[in-house]
Symmetry: C2
Subunit: 496 residues, 2 copies
C-alpha cells in the first residue's frame, strides 16, 4: 500500500488519491479489483475515515474507481495503454463542398429502428435522464399556470433561463452575461445561425477533421466550402497545421470543438486554447465554438471553452441541454459575442422562438432540480459506458484496430485496418439490425473509409455486446484470410 510521505503540501486526501491512481495506472491495482475498505485504509495510514471517503470520491469523479452500493469501491476497467490510437489525417490541398447527405439521412433514419442496436446517431441514451422528475416539474408548471403553453416566445428567449446559463459559466470562470445569450432550438440551430452570420454561401470555413457529420450537413445546406484541419487524436487541432491553412487559404471563419471533439473526443489544453485564440486575432477571424460536450468531462474539472479567452467578442459559443438534461426538449443557446444583433435577427427569421414552456422547465430544473447532482452521476455513467464499450471493442474487433481515448462525452472513433470498407460494413450490419456511423460521413473528402463512429452512451447490455461482436466478425471477414500463407510466400524463411 502507498506510503503517505508526500512533501508536496497537497491535502492528504489528494495525496492518497494520487498514489492510488498511480497504482491503478501501473496495474498494481487491477480492473475489477476492490479497494481496501474505508475503515481499514484510514487505520493503516493514520487518516480520518472522512479523508479516505473524500479521496475515493475524487477517484470516482476521475473515473478510476466506482462505488457499488453496500459493497465498496472497485477499480474500473480501463483501456490497455498499448491499444493503438487512430491516425491523423493529411492536410487538404483545397477547400471542398460537402456531399454525403444520402448516407447521413440513412443513418439518421435507422437510428430510430425499434428492436435494433442503433449506435450511429449522436443522441444519448434516453434512460440516463431524470425524466420522471422533469415530468413532475413540467406538470406543476402547467397546472399552476396553463398560460405557459400559449405564450409566444420571442427570439432572445426566456431571460431567467439565460441568467441561469450565464451563472453557470461565471462559476466556471467564463464571463458571459445573460444579455449576450440567445436561446435556440438545440445546439443545431445555434450553430446554424452562427455560421450563417460569419460565412456567406461560397465562403470557406476551416473545420477540424474528422468532424461531426451533422455539422458538415449544416455547412452543405448553407453552400459553404470546408477546409479540413487535421487533428491529433489526443491533443486536438495542431496549431502549425492550422496556421499553415490560414496562410494559404482565404478563410471566412473557423469552426472548432475544443472540448471532447466529436468524433475524436480530444481536448485542447488551456495553453493551446490561448494560442489558438491568438491565431484567431492575428488573422482577425471569428470562430464558431461547439461546446455541447463541455460539461461531460471525466476528470475533476470542466475544461474551459475557448470563449473564456475571448476578449473581443469574436467567439460564437454554441451549446445545449440535449446531451446533459433532456435530449427531447431541443433547448440550446448561443453566446455570439459581437454578433449578438445579427444572430438575434436570424433566430427570429429562422424559427421565431423556442417554446417558452420548455425554457421555463429547464430554468426551473437548473434552479431546483439538482442539476449538478444529476450531472455528476451522468458523467460517471457516460465514462463507465465508454470504457466498457472500448474494452469490448478491443476484444472483439480485428487486430490492428485503433480506438480513440475520449477525455469526455460518449463518442468512440474506431479505425479498422485499412482494407475494411466501413460503408460495406454498414450495409452488412444493417441486415443484422445494427447501425453505426461510417467514417466517410465525417469528412467532405470521403476520407476515413476504414473508420466508424460509435455512440457509447448506453449501458453495454448483452444485446450490445453481441452487436459489437457481430461487427467484429463482419470486419474481420473483410480482411484477407490468408495472411499466414501470404506471409510465408513473401518470407519463406519464416517457415523454417
Amino acid at each position: 500500500m502507498p506510503a503517505m510521505s508526500d512533501q508536496s503540501g497537497k491535502a492528504p486526501y489528494r495525496q492518497l488519491a494520487e498514489s492510488l491512481q498511480r497504482f491503478i495506472e501501473e496495474g498494481t491495482l487491477r480492473p475489477g479489483g476492490k479497494l481496501p475498505s474505508v475503515r481499514l485504509m484510514a487505520k493503516r495510514h493514520g487518516l480520518s475515515p472522512r479523508t479516505v471517503v473524500k479521496s475515493y470520491g475524487l477517484l470516482e469523479d476521475l473515473g478510476k474507481v466506482e462505488g457499488r452500493s453496500r459493497s465498496g469501491f472497485y477499480v474500473r476497467p480501463h483501456l490497455a495503454p498499448q491499444s493503438p490510437l487512430p491516425k491523423m489525417a493529411r492536410p487538404m490541398a483545397r477547400p471542398a463542398y460537402v456531399g454525403v447527405s444520402d448516407l447521413a439521412a440513412d443513418v439518421m433514419e435507422h437510428s430510430t429502428d425499434l428492436g435494433s442496436v442503433s449506435l450511429g446517431w449522436g443522441s444519448p441514451d434516453g434512460n440516463l435522464f431524470p425524466n420522471r422528475r422533469i415530468a413532475r416539474m413540467l406538470s406543476s408548471i402547467i397546472r399552476d399556470e396553463p398560460g405557459w403553453l400559449a405564450r409566444a416566445s420571442l427570439n432572445w428567449g426566456y431571460e431567467p433561463l439565460a441568467r441561469e446559463i450565464a451563472r453557470r459559466y461565471v462559476l466556471d470562470g467564463v464571463k458571459i452575461s445573460h444579455a449576450e445569450l440567445i436561446i435556440t432550438s438545440g445546439c443545431t440551430e445555434a450553430l446554424n445561425l452562427s455560421i450563417r452570420v460569419v460565412a456567406k454561401p461560397g465562403d470557406t470555413v476551416a473545420v477540424e477533421t474528422p468532424a461531426a457529420f451533422a455539422l458538415l450537413q449544416t455547412l452543405q445546406s448553407l453552400g459553404v466550402r470546408v477546409l479540413e484541419i487535421p487533428m491529433c487524436p489526443t491533443q486536438g487541432v495542431q496549431l502549425p497545421n492550422f496556421r499553415a491553412a490560414l496562410l494559404s487559404h482565404k478563410i471566412a471563419a473557423v469552426f472548432t470543438m475544443p472540448n471532447f471533439q466529436n468524433p475524436l473526443g480530444c481536448t485542447l489544453s488551456d495553453e493551446m486554447k490561448g494560442r489558438f485564440y491568438d491565431l484567431l486575432r492575428e488573422f482577425d477571424l471569428p470562430a464558431v465554438e461547439d461546446d455541447v460536450y463541455g460539461e461531460l468531462f471525466c476528470g475533476d474539472r470542466r475544461p474551459k471553452p475557448l470563449k473564456a479567452w475571448d476578449v473581443d467578442g469574436r467567439v460564437l459559443l454554441c451549446s445545449s441541454f440535449s446531451k446533459t438534461l433532456a435530449p427531447g426538449l431541443r433547448v440550446g443557446w448561443c453566446a455570439p459575442g459581437r454578433y449578438l444583433e445579427p444572430v438575434r435577427r436570424l433566430k427570429m427569421a429562422n424559427t421565431m422562438g423556442t417554446p417558452l414552456v420548455l425554457q421555463k422547465l429547464v430554468c426551473d430544473f437548473l434552479r431546483m432540480g439538482g442539476y449538478d447532482h444529476h450531472l455528476r452521476g451522468l458523467r460517471r455513467a457516460y465514462h463507465s459506458h465508454v470504457l466498457q464499450f472500448a474494452e469490448q471493442i478491443r476484444r472483439d474487433f480485428p487486430a490492428g484496430t485503433a480506438v480513440s481515448r475520449p477525455q469526455g462525452g460518449y463518442i468512440l472513433w474506431i479505425q479498422f485496418p485499412k482494407q475494411v470498407d466501413s460503408v460495406r460494413l454498414y450495409h452488412e450490419a444493417l441486415k443484422r439490425h445494427i447501425s453505426f456511423a461510417p467514417g466517410i460521413l465525417f469528412s467532405s473528402k470521403l476520407r476515413y473509409s476504414n473508420c466508424i463512429r460509435i455512440n457509447a452512451s448506453a449501458p453495454l447490455t448483452a444485446q450490445v455486446q453481441s452487436a459489437i461482436s457481430a461487427l467484429g466478425h463482419l470486419a474481420s471477414a473483410q480482411l484477407p484470410r490468408t495472411t499466414g500463407r501470404a506471409l510465408l510466400r513473401k518470407f519463406p524463411a519464416l517457415a523454417r
Copy 2:
C-alpha cells in the same frame, strides 16, 4: 318578419338564415338587436324549434349573430358598407433587397411589454385557447411515459401527428399524404426551409404586397431579392399584374398567401386559385404557400389552399398550430410536394427535430381534445373581435381612414390619410405604452408609410378602446389643422 315562400328548394333552416342575413345587411335588424326567441320564430313561420335553432347556429357560424347564454341571439356589430377600403400599390419597376429589420426587431421587443397595449406582433391573444385542457393532456402524457421528454425527434416528425394533419386536409378535399408532411418548429421554420429550397441567395422571389413583415425578414436573412406584386384589398393578387411581372423579370419562385392574406385579410376565389396555378405551370415556377390562417374563416367553409390544385408537386404548403391551438408550442408543418427530400435534409441541418413530446401532445389533442369544437368557438371569437376593433377604429380614427375587411384571421390593415407618418405615430404611441406595426415594415420599398397593421385577436377591452382612441388623436394631430383657413387662402371666393 320574413316570409318563407322560397322556391329555391333549399332546406328551410337555410332559407330562414338567408332571409335573416338579408335583413341584417340591409339594417332592418340592427347591430346589438335581439332576434325573436326560438319559440316565437318557430310559431310564426310554422317551423320546428329545431329548424330555427339550426338556422340561428348557421348565422352564428357566419358571424352575423352571437348567442349569449340564457339570453338569446343578438345581431353582431358589422362594418358600415360605406367605410373605404385601403388602396392597391403600384407595380414595382425592379426587384429589391429587404432592409427594415431594426424597426421590426423594435416592434417585436415591444410586443412583450407588460402593462402596455401591444397590437403590433402577429401572435394571437393567449386567452383564447384551451390551455387548461392542453395542460391536463400534457401532464397525462408525461406521467404515463416520462420517456417522451428524452426521446430525440428526428427531422420528419412524429408520424401519427402527420397522419392527423393529412386526415384533416383530406376531409377538406385536399389530397395530402402523411408521408409528404414534415413537422417543423412553427410555420416560420416551414417557410424558411421552403424558401431556401426553391431560391438561392441573389435570386428573386415574387411576393404579394403588402406582405407579412416576418416573411420579409426571412427573405432578407436569406439574401433573396423581392419583387412585389400589388394586391386588391378584397380579391387578392391580380393575375394580370402577376403575369406582367413574370414576363418581365427572372423569378425563381413565388410566395403567396391565398387565404386571409397577412396583412390585407383577402382571399383568392377558387376560380382565381385555379388560374393562379395555371400561371405557375405556364412559367414552370414553384410556389411557397403560407396557409397559417386557412382554418380561421368567417364563412361556413374553409377556403381551399392553393395546394388543392397542385397536380405536379410544385406547391410547398406551410402552416402551423400557432394561431389555432397553442401559440407557445411552435409546432408547424410543411407539405413540400416534389421538394420533400431537400426540405427534410434542411430541417435536419436547421434544428434537427421539433420536440417530440409537443408533437405527441398536439396529435392527442387533434384526436381527442375536441379540436373542431374549439376551432368553431375560436373563429367566432376572432371574427367578433375584428368587427369590434374595426367599428371602434371607424369611430375614433380621422376621416378618410380606410380599413380592411378581412374574410378570416384577426389582422386589420389601416390606411390613414396620406399626411400621416406611421413611424412617427409608432414612436409617439410607444410613449403611451401602445404598440402596433408601422406600414413600411410590409414592403421592401418603404411603401405604406401612412398604413398600420393591428392585431385584433383579443377582446376589445376598455384599455384597448382607449388605446385606439389615443391612436386616433395622435394621427389626427398629424393632419393639417388649418384646413379651413388654408382653403380660404386658396379659394377666397368661399368666404363670400
